[in-house]
Amino acid sequence: MLMLLVLALIAACLVPLVARVVGKGAGLIVAVVPFALLGAFVAFASIVERGWVRSEGWRWAPSLGLDLTFRLDGFSFLFCLLITGIGGLVTIYSGGYLTDKPRHERSRFLTLILLFMVAMLGTVLAENMLLMILFWEATSVLSFLLIGFDSRSPRSRRAAIMALQVTAGGGLALIAATAMIGQVLGTYSMAEAVRRGPELLASNWGAPIVACIMIAAFTKSAQFPFHFWLPNAMQAPTPASAYLHSATMVKLGIYLLARFEPVIAGTAWGRNTLIIVACITMLVAALQALRAESFKSALAYSTIASLGILVLLVGLDGPAASVAMIGFLLAHALYKAALFFCAGSVLHATGTGTLRALGGLRRTLPFTALACTLASLSMAGIPPFLGFISKEFLFEAQLESSWELAPLAVAVLVNAVMVGVAGVITLRPFFLAPQSEVRIEHGESFSLVAPPLLLALAGLVISLEPDWITRVAIRPAVAAVFGRPVAVDVAVWHGPTPMLALSAVVVAIGAAIVIWWRPLHVVLRRHAPIEQFGLERLWERSVRATLRLSAGLTARVEHGDLSGYLATAIAGFVTLVVWALWQAGAPLRLPGDDPVRLAEAAVALVGVAGALAAARARNLLAAMIAVGLTGFAVAITFMLNGAPDLSITQFTVEALIVVLLTALLLVVPLDAPTTRERSRRVGHMAIAASFAAVMFVVMLDMAGATNATPAADWFGRMSYVAGKGHNVVNVILVDFRGFDTLGETSVIAVAALLGASLLHARTRPDPVAARSVHFSFHAASRPLFWLLLAASVVILWRGHDQPGGGFVGGLVAALAFAVLSLARGVGEAARALRSSPVMLVAIGLGLAVASGLPSMIGGAPFLTHLWWEPGGGLPKLGTTILFDLGVYAVVLGAVLTFLFGLQREAAR
């Protein structure tokens, strides 16, 4: 079976390409594929009729529980026959139907149809439920593509989306059910699931599994309250409607329910639910069928009603119900597909599908009229058509089941309506006189006529010569569904039975409906409450509500005010920390005895004062200065606590920030009164304060933890021995954790790239005129520049042993250039550099990386530094110096990129 499917898949992709070459006859060629498949399946008949099951299995993704297992039993076999047989006819019909479309579209349509066929076959053959879902969802997607095939029409697109929402939503329910089954049983085998139904039901997931299966089935088979997508799906080209939306796809829900009937029956509410839903569906659909104005929508509603009947039959207990279900499934597939073909032909011929506008087509479309008549007779359940037999089965099943009469009454009524609809759709377009002239655009052709005629005749032939089909298809199917062999007697005449009497009642009421269709139709159409009853409205409303919710949500969440976003984020952080603390319930540790040192405390408080002043400042410059004050205080704090490297770096950074930010502040207004409302300010204050409070508590605990600093101690011991440096911090930066530093250097390099891109240099003359500077500064700037540059080199060189290094060296060098650019303009500073800052960055990054490479020749890891100690009073030399030099160059180049860029930008 896998081979069949694979071949079919390949054929589905390739064969329809014929339609790009061949015109009308393409359908006939393409139909070879389904008919060949049909033949292949018929070859299995000998197995199936013995009641055997053919299984195949390959491993696919065992750890997902996904196996390529297929299972052909009577029920699948019946489906396969319908899928391939009707599929063949649909392809033929499509060839004749799509004559108005360009060839490539015809080809695409046929591809979709064949792909759909493969997907259907896969669904009914799959034994592994994940595999079934795969095909099941494929049918939904292909249905989406086919409904929207006429994609220029907004109605098609809307209908396609609606159908996808409902059926794929149902697919999700199936996925959920499958996942739960896998959860309980540890397997995704459908047979296992059905066999071990009691186990499923005994688990926690029993009811959800059954409910999800029902939802999946109801959506696919258009049961109340999910039925509304099907009439809309009639936007699909008619061959697709015939195939997907009446004969095959919509029956997948029935397939699923029938397969899981034992499990469903195991719950107290399973059968009841099926029957109630089915009855509601039937009534609603019957009513809507009478109100339908177009040929196709009348068929669509009658299809829904028929699907209701099938669900009802699944719900009823007893063997007769299974027999009836299979019989009706077959009969319906045959006559409904035929009727759809006829509807398509009428639409194709006249360009209109409105029943009231049609009439007298029997002359122009005689074969279509014949096929329609035959199929309608079957649909109406008139003997000797198959529809009659299946109706007899239906009534028998209801009488035999343990149920009350209410469903029977509904069935009678609905069947009567079916008779009425059958009458109307045959008489109205073909036999009654037209109300106005009906223009014929296309006549009949073989491709358009043969399929419906064949199907309609099949309905007659099977009922008259039922033996073969009963033996190979119906009986095995019933046995598969019911679980054991059941005697099936397919015959037109069983003598005078209660069922016959019911049939007579049905036909009588049906005849009345045909006669009074017009007034009935008009009255029903006028009746507004029925529109209200339409769940389509409800669905649309809920979709609209969802969209409104979406828009509202987006508007609320993405309001465009960054401050609101950040407030949410900070509040989120606080909430998370508080939650974590509450859950951890650990006691708060406090730092040990650690006397307050007056000077340090004062410095810290100055830092706090600066921060608070910055937060309060109305003026941006004042805020910047206050931030600088805090930076200063923190730098002094570092100094007081044994961190000279940090201190000097912090001081340098503060100075550079002043230099760079003043360029920005030069162009913007400094006075920036708050735009936050008072309440908002208070809220923000609370958020900020709560974060601060939480962090305070947490930091206390951190400091209170016993301090084990294994890595830091190691660094202290090894810095000189292994890293040849007295300054442990620098050795960590360039050697022990040189890779961090390389990453950080890359950050700076990339920042420089960004700066160069955003602040691209212009060739305009430098507008910063020297005369606007105090002459003292102008004159002193050169010596200062050299002084700072020299200092930076000293800092760089000594960094390995004394406070300093590449970072701070580079920053100080940047300050040197800042002096020059402030005093003499950017142009002169840039000239003093004798290179572009970005080039410097590139060279520096190259140096830093290169410094780590030589050792790799010896097989050591990247960034293993090499040392050369010449002795004799000469300084030791190592690749770390190269590394630090690289860092120096990157930092210098990057800062200058921004410095020059911002100053140029400010001078514009």
């Binding site: 921060a611 920036a672 305070f696 700066g755």
Partner: protein
């Protein structure tokens, strides 16, 4: 002293966050710079800072005496420089934003601009 430093770091972070919640881009920028200062102080607290001796091995010695935590200092140094780089990048972006819109307000409709240009075709056409 530790408690006081914890308080200081927390207060700096709090003030920084309050600034970040402003609607003025430059305040946000300054707030972020301040925030990184606060966090740096926090890392400092995370290290062992019981000693006030710098982590510099004395001349002629091979091993570090009792000194402040060198690893924490190395981390902070990295953090300071990265924070500085980001502050400057942000300043550049703010500068560009000011040049483009003449506004420092961060509020703006979140629907982005739609330069629908049917003739737009070059590779750099956004």
């Amino acid at each position: 002293m530790t408690i006081l430093y914890a308080l200081t770091a927390a207060a700096i972070m709090g003030a920084a966050l309050y600034m970040i919640l402003s609607r003025n881009m430059i305040r946000i920028l300054l707030g972020l710079a301040l925030l990184s200062t606060g966090v740096n102080l926090m890392i400092f607290l995370a290290g062992d800072f019981s000693s006030r001796q710098p982590p510099l091995i004395r001349e002629g010695q091979q091993v570090l005496d009792e000194a402040a935590d060198p690893l924490a200092q190395a981390l902070i140094l990295t953090a300071i420089v990265i924070g500085f780089a980001l502050t400057v990048v942000l300043a550049t972006i703010v500068m560009r934003g000011w040049r483009a819109t003449g506004s420092l307000d961060v509020r703006r409709p979140d629907a982005p601009e739609q330069p629908d240009d049917p003739e737009l075709r070059g590779p750099d056409a956004d």
